[in-house]
């Protein structure tokens, strides 16, 4: 019992120490509805929320000794955290309310970025943090090195790139480019017009619809590709694998041996055709299916 009490006291003291080591900040500024916001925070988290006001409000928690700089005018402003020790920065948490139509640029190292409710343009960069976006930004450019990127919503234009992190899209977009090296790519549910999806070894799972007249390009070196569309989606397929297999469960068309004497190819029209689907794989297995 005494030992248990001692542990509890130590835990409470540790928590109290941590809380004391943090400084709370709250700031506000006027910003035009379509103004620009630039946010930089190396470690911790950045949360951006779009709201229906012509102003920016920041609430944050910084390690003691770190400084927050915030400045600019109605057309554009920026804020960044300057760590006390930039060789060993400690986590800062920033929560920023911005006009929903604002253009937002966020860059971090290991801090996660979480954006919701912004309908303007988003440019988000992390090295190894996670990027999460929900809502319908007009344009979204998200880049990571080994962090994940998760998008839920209907961005008008989307470009998401990671190397070893995963990339997921749950939603609809007119113009999409998703890319990884070894990270998995998953597209779920929405209807796409133009899309380019590529990985080197990362598995790709596409389970969405394609607009009539749309175009979809998928390239992978050795990642597995599971491609699922509604049975009645009209599409003209051009599928080629240099050394991998192609399995078609979408209709009765069967792949043929590759024109160069190896691998497999499948050129076919599903339903009445319409969208263009081009799939290229070096050796990853390709499976085409219809949605249940």
């Amino acid at each position: 019992m005494n030992r248990r009490m001692l542990r509890l006291v130590i835990a409470l003291m540790t928590l109290a120490g941590r809380a004391e080591a943090q400084t709370k900040v709250e700031r506000g500024m006027h910003l035009n509805a379509d103004g620009s916001v630039r946010i930089s925070n190396l470690v911790g988290s950045v949360r951006v929320i779009g709201w229906d006001r012509d102003s920016v409000a920041l609430r944050g928690s910084l390690p003691k000794g770190d400084k927050l700089f915030m400045g600019g005018g109605p057309q554009g402003m920026k804020m960044f955290v300057e760590p006390l020790n930039d060789r060993n920065p400690q986590p800062s948490a920033l929560e920023v309310m911005v006009p929903a139509r604002a253009k937002v640029w966020v860059k971090t190292a290991t801090a996660s970025i979480d954006v919701s409710g912004v309908t303007g343009e988003l440019d988000l960069y992390v090295v190894s943090g996670t990027i999460r976006v929900s809502g319908n930004p007009s344009e979204l450019n998200a880049e990571a090195i080994d962090g994940d990127i998760h998008v839920t919503g209907d961005p008008g234009w989307l470009r998401a790139k990671s190397a070893s992190g995963d990339v997921t899209l749950k939603g609809t977009s007119d113009d999409v480019a998703l890319s990884t090296v070894s990270g998995a790519i998953a597209v779920n549910g929405g209807k796409l017009e133009r899309a380019k999806i590529e990985s080197v070894t990362g598995p790709i799972r596409f389970a969405a619809d394609i607009q009539r007249g749309g175009a979809l390009d998928i390239d992978t070196h050795s990642g597995t590709l599971e491609f699922t569309i509604p049975r009645d989606t009209g599409a003209d397929f051009d599928v080629a694998s240099i050394a991998g297999s192609i399995t078609n469960e979408l209709n009765y068309s069967r792949p043929t041996k590759g024109r160069y004497g190896r691998g497999a190819e499948l050129v076919m029209t599903n339903s009445s055709g319409g969208a263009r689907v081009k799939i290229r794989s070096f050796k990853g297995p390709v499976t085409l299916r219809s949605a249940k």
Binding site: S40, L42, K107, A109, T110, D123, Y125, V127, S128, N141, E143, I145, D146, W157, L158, R159, K161, A163, S164, D175, V176, A177, S179, V181, S182, R194, A195, K196, E198, V200, T201, A215, D217, D219, H221, S222, A240, I242, A243, Y260, R280, F282, K283
Partner: protein, 205 residues
């Protein structure tokens, strides 16, 4: 139309006529690939380690085998082939150094033109390799801005891309007119250049 435009058009027509008179394909000199492959393999374990990129070994393009290959390619193809090949690549969106976020729709409207053979691709490949080398050197000089964990993960990603390049390149050597392979190879090089470029930019804070 300005005078400059008409001059460019005439020059373009002249270049096109000269290009049309050239052979449709040129086989690379024997051994050219061996030089490139050894450079890639040497680079694999330390993709942006300055010591391995530039010194103490001479850069791969300074090796006699590659110089010979480059000389033959230059003489045989002349600058006209380079211009035509590069223009074709640019037309299909495969710029060597990835532009800052271009519209995906632009990259989706690729025409089927582009290098039609291993020989034509070799000319373009040297540009990719130069870009990779330049970016690796830049990254190495700024590596203090990245954590050791990130560097390790980046190296692993580059190793994965190098393996893909090597496999596609070997397959292309056995099947030099396979345009699908040429597209895949170009794609892998572009991913490598893009990853290095993105990492360099992110490290700059």
């Amino acid at each position: 139309m300005t005078e400059d435009d008409s001059i460019d058009e005439a020059r373009l027509r002249e270049l096109s006529e000269q290009a049309a008179a050239l052979p449709r394909s040129i086989d690379p000199p024997s051994g050219a690939w061996a030089g490139i492959r050894s450079a890639i393999e040497a680079d694999r374990n330390a993709p942006f380690d300055r010591e391995q990129v530039a010194t103490p070994h001479p850069a791969f393009w300074q090796r006699p085998i590659f110089l010979a290959a480059a000389a033959v390619a230059l003489v045989a193809g002349s600058s006209v082939v380079t211009a035509v090949a590069m223009r074709e690549i640019a037309n299909r969106g495969n710029t060597v150094v990835a532009a800052s976020p271009e519209r995906p729709s632009e990259t989706l409207t690729q025409s089927s033109s582009g290098p039609a053979s291993l020989a034509q691709f070799t000319v373009v490949e040297s540009d990719y390799l130069r870009a990779v080398n330049d970016l690796s050197a830049t990254l190495e000089s700024e590596r203090g801005s990245l954590s050791p964990e990130t560097i390790a993960k980046l190296r692993e990603s580059l190793r994965i891309i190098d393996t893909a390049i090597l496999e596609a390149r070997n397959a292309l050597a056995a099947d030099p007119a396979n345009r699908t392979l040429i597209e895949m190879l170009a794609n892998s090089y572009e991913q490598k250049v893009d990853l290095l470029k993105r990492t360099t930019e992110m490290g700059r804070g």
